[in-house]
Amino acid sequence: GAGVSQSPSNKVTEKGKDVELRCDPISGHTALYWYRQRLGQGLEFLIYFQGNSAPDKSGLPSDRFSAERTGESVSTLTIQRTQQEDSAVYLCASSFNRGRGYGYTFGSGTRLTVV
């Protein structure tokens, strides 16, 4: 597709349930990133995939969070046993390799509300 696609755009879930968020990067972009933005906060790095290398998981806030990416395609971010503090907009971005010249292309995000 022309841009980074994320689904769902909105998700309301009950505390304790698991959720899965999906990101479809731009075709040919080898790097994929997950960030989140909680209310009143900046963009917080979660996880980074680069080609077939082991992902950089250094930003994941707890072991309830995990993400997968198959090759250079779709990625899913899974949050198990959701808590209210997980409520945030989850943003996915992709780039060519380092993407330093143009930065990242972001999707519109998934707004997650845990009630």
Partner: protein
């Protein structure tokens, strides 16, 4: 520990005037800096960037200034237009293939 700081959460400017958005950083390993613009319900979009070997980069109405000794950069928008009203994020990347580090953002309102 915030490595990229945008100390002004909001800024209001009259249409036609200059908007100046500021950003400070603490990590001396940062060597590339970017500004992103974000409208509500959309993802951030790349606006302008600057390498640490430069002190200024200009693109139309947007100019980014970098003061390495002060670890400070600023984005100037002139003249400001109502369509510039958005949240602006400052971001930085260190040498190597690591993710961008973002500030908290500054909400700019340009008043007609």
């Amino acid at each position: 520990d915030q490595q990229v700081k945008q100390n002004s959460p909001s800024l209001s400017v009259q249409e036609g005037r200059i908007s100046i958005l500021n950003c400070d950083y603490t990590n001396s390993m940062f060597d590339y800096f970017l500004w992103y613009k974000k409208y509500p319900a959309e993802g951030p979009t790349f606006l302008i960037s600057i390498s640490s070997i430069k002190d200024k980069n200009e693109d139309g109405r947007f100019t980014v200034f970098l003061n390495k000794s002060a670890k400070h950069l600023s984005l100037h928008i002139v003249p400001s237009q109502p369509g510039d009203s958005a949240v602006y994020f400052c971001a930085a990347i260190p040498t190597g293939n690591t993710p961008l580090v973002f500030g908290k953002g500054t909400r700019l309102s340009v008043i007609a």
